[in-house]
């Protein structure tokens, strides 16, 4: 088979717009280029506005990571003003944020990722009938159960954040509503119902048992629930080998609390963990339709190339840390946090990313219960922050799909610089000036492509395994 070129798109069941260009030879992807074909210019919209406007506008970058954007903006504002939020407000903000993240994990697994295994190309596999029954798009039983469980869990957001998405509840000083004793028991009730759903349907067993798995072998023996179905499929299709990463992971640390992060920040490369140091962070624009040179987001700007020059192919910049690309997401967080199962899966492909997400789903339920138990209804939940006049700061958080950073600069009471590096900016970045591909571009190399297949299902599995959010990417 000689080389062919494929353009895969529109790409659905990812958040936002994505186009993937593939060079295929000898039945496999030889090279890939990932294009984010949307530009909106949020970073430019913010310039000249009052700093607090970032809390209203940045959540609207993304309807699925809305609270993550909100939390990053609140953190950046607090950092720029040297302000510390009320500890109990920080706790409730972490709980609100965790609810968005687990909801996103559930949405991804059930609605975005699994329906591909119900495709007719897998008819004949021993698990196919079960996959259709559970996950066929819009028909499967799992989708209905998941969206009902998600909607019920989000009652906690109705209660504490007013609505989802696009809340203004998270502020630099804490949260806007103080929960009373009645709210606390109601939150606990909603969390208990969500645990029941996870244990009955997703895992088919106690969450603590899944979270206690420590090796790939033990994981592959998990047979119950929809997780068990996925693992059976993964074993049959060898999803561990499909779309393997380069084993470099980045996490900004999830849920910052007074006593430290619930999931630790850091870097993982060459099989070892290193502290997070972003001084070597640069956004490269050599293959993005952006003008200007490479810059740290603290000094960066966003100047769209309206001519969309030939040498570039995406609106996404290419973040690099000390010259290297990094993968970010649930797997990265769990590897860096030191979970033994995640460490055993490090460097893996579709299986590792999806299992990392399931592992985090199980672990975060316990975290949310701890956060809820620790709410002290008599405490203050807000220490109001004065509007920032001069200053600069970064807000580093973890969205469901990975590390999210806001870099803010305020001069004379107005936003003078605002740069955002989203998780999928890392994962789906284009090539840099040295020609180094982004993590997805690298992971796609070698993916098998059947002759005549215009939208290869293997490529779909790999792309969706990253849980991309393109609207965040191309803010």
């Amino acid at each position: 088979m000689t080389g062919t070129r494929l353009i895969v798109g529109p790409f659905n069941r990812v958040e936002g717009d994505l186009e993937v260009h593939l060079d295929v030879a000898d039945g496999a992807v030889r090279s890939a280029r990932v294009n984010a074909p949307l530009y909106r210019g949020f970073e430019r919209m913010l310039l000249g506005r009052p700093p607090s406007d970032a809390l209203t506008l940045t959540p609207r970058i993304c309807g699925i990571c809305s609270i993550s954007q909100s939390a990053a903006a609140a953190r950046a504002l607090a950092a720029a003003g040297g302000h510390v939020p009320a500890p109990q407000g920080e706790r409730v903000a972490a709980l609100i944020h965790a609810i968005e993240n687990v909801s996103d994990h559930l949405t991804h697994f059930t609605l975005f990722f699994m329906p591909d295994f119900a495709r007719s190309c897998y008819a004949g596999r021993s698990w196919h009938a079960r996959a259709v029954d559970r996950f066929a798009a819009m028909e499967g039983a799992a989708a209905r159960q998941a969206i009902e469980a998600r909607a019920a869990l989000m009652h906690i957001l109705g209660l504490m954040a007013g609505k989802w998405p696009h809340t203004l509840a998270i502020q630099p000083g804490g949260v806007t509503r103080a929960p009373g004793p009645r709210d606390k028991v109601r939150i606990a009730a909603s969390l208990a119902a969500f645990r029941r759903y996870l244990e009955d349907v997703v895992f088919g067993g106690p969450l603590e048992a899944f979270a206690a798995l420590s090796t790939r072998e033990a994981l592959m023996d998990w047979e119950t629930g929809d997780a068990g179905l996925f693992l059976r499929i993964a074993a049959d299709l060898d999803l561990d080998a499909l779309g393997r990463g380069e084993g470099r992971y980045l996490s900004f640390g999830a849920y910052p609390l007074a006593g430290g992060h619930a999931f630790a920040p850091g870097l993982w490369r060459c099989g070892a963990r290193y502290p997070l140091d972003l001084s070597g962070l640069v956004e490269d624009v050599s293959h993005a339709w952006m003008l200007g040179g490479p810059a740290h987001p603290g000094e960066g700007q966003t100047l769209p190339d309206e001519d969309m020059r030939e040498a570039a192919y995406s609106w996404c910049k290419a973040p690099r840390l000390n010259g290297e690309s990094y993968e970010t997401g649930a797997l990265a967080r769990q590897v860096i946090d030191g979970h033994p199962l995640a460490r055993d899966l490090a460097g893996g492909g579709v299986l590792a990313r999806v299992a990392g997400r399931l592992l985090e789903l199980a672990r975060t339920q316990g975290l949310m219960e701890d956060l809820s138990r620790g709410i002290e209804p008599a405490a203050r939940f807000m220490d109001p922050a004065p509007e920032v006049r001069e200053g600069a700061g970064a807000g580093l958080v973890e969205a469901a799909r990975g590390a999210l950073g806001h870099w803010l600069r305020v001069e004379k009471g107005r936003i003078a610089g605002y740069q955002i590096v989203a998780p999928t900016t890392w994962n789906f970045s284009p090539r840099d000036a040295a020609g180094q591909p982004g993590p997805l571009e690298a992971a796609l190399v070698g993916a098998p492509v059947a002759q005549g297949d215009e939208t290869p299902v293997t490529v779909q599995h790999i792309v969706r395994s990253f849980d991309p959010c393109m609207v965040c990417t191309v803010h």
Partner: protein
Amino acid sequence: MNVLWLQASGCGGCTMSLLCAEDPNILDLLADAGIALLWHPALSAETGAELRALLDRIAAGEVALDVLCVEGAIARGPRGTGRFQMLSGTGRSMLDWVRTLAPLADHVVAVGSCAAFGGVTSAGGNPSDAAGLHYEGAHRGGILPPEFRGRAGLPVVNVAGCPTHPDWVSETLMLLAAGALGPDDLDALARPRFYAEHLVHHGCPKNEFYEYKASATHLCEMGCMMEHLGCVGTQAVGDCNIRPWNGQGSCTRAGYPCISCTAPEFEEPRHAFTETPKVAGIPVGLPSDMPKAWFMALASLSKAATPVRLSRNAVADRVEVLPSPRKPRG
């Protein structure tokens, strides 16, 4: 009734909100009303070549299009080309696709304030030159001309909101499926009256504070947020406090102001979102349908009559002074 749903230049949050529909869940709700999704970006199996084939068949008139839902504004830049948003895999801009498909649909529904008016995507100098389908801000004529009508005769139905409440979208679709949404059921900006004939103020739990102008001074306090914190719930359309969000929520219930996200140009309030602009200490954005002098007179009277319970609770983060109903006689 079939529905094709496209995500244009927006955040996808209206779809995410729609998934929060309850009693029953959104999939059953639509199916029970006889509404079939031809394709939806978050829910459908079809991707890539499969979808391109469907779009081509609709464009060729081989598949009748009952409803075209568009979520997100339409980017017209750079320089009128629409290339700031290409529909991936097709080599054509979203601008081009929507202009092609809209005239083929019986009804066109703009889901969210971006699709309706441009919304947040058009904020801050509008870097991508985005517009709504049928409006650019408050002005009729977006990427479709002012005289545009769906084949069944309605203008683009503007289910405005940022995001939309799940029921606003599902009930609009159910009314269309039932043939029960006519021109008189839309307000002057073509928003469905069933939610746009209410104000966010209706049912706001801070109403008693409003009556006495007992105001919150910070975003964690219980008082009315109109005087100091930018709340425009008295002028914003929406049934947010009559039919709450995500169970029991609304913006004002959670302690932050209504920013009138159902209105054109809400993204450019010309002041900080969470601050009320004032002239000589008097808020500039008073209710638009009562004489200003009357409002001021009533406000000063009610301020003078404010019970201590309200003036204290207004600046507290929880009730400090309880109501004291009259004791029963005898």
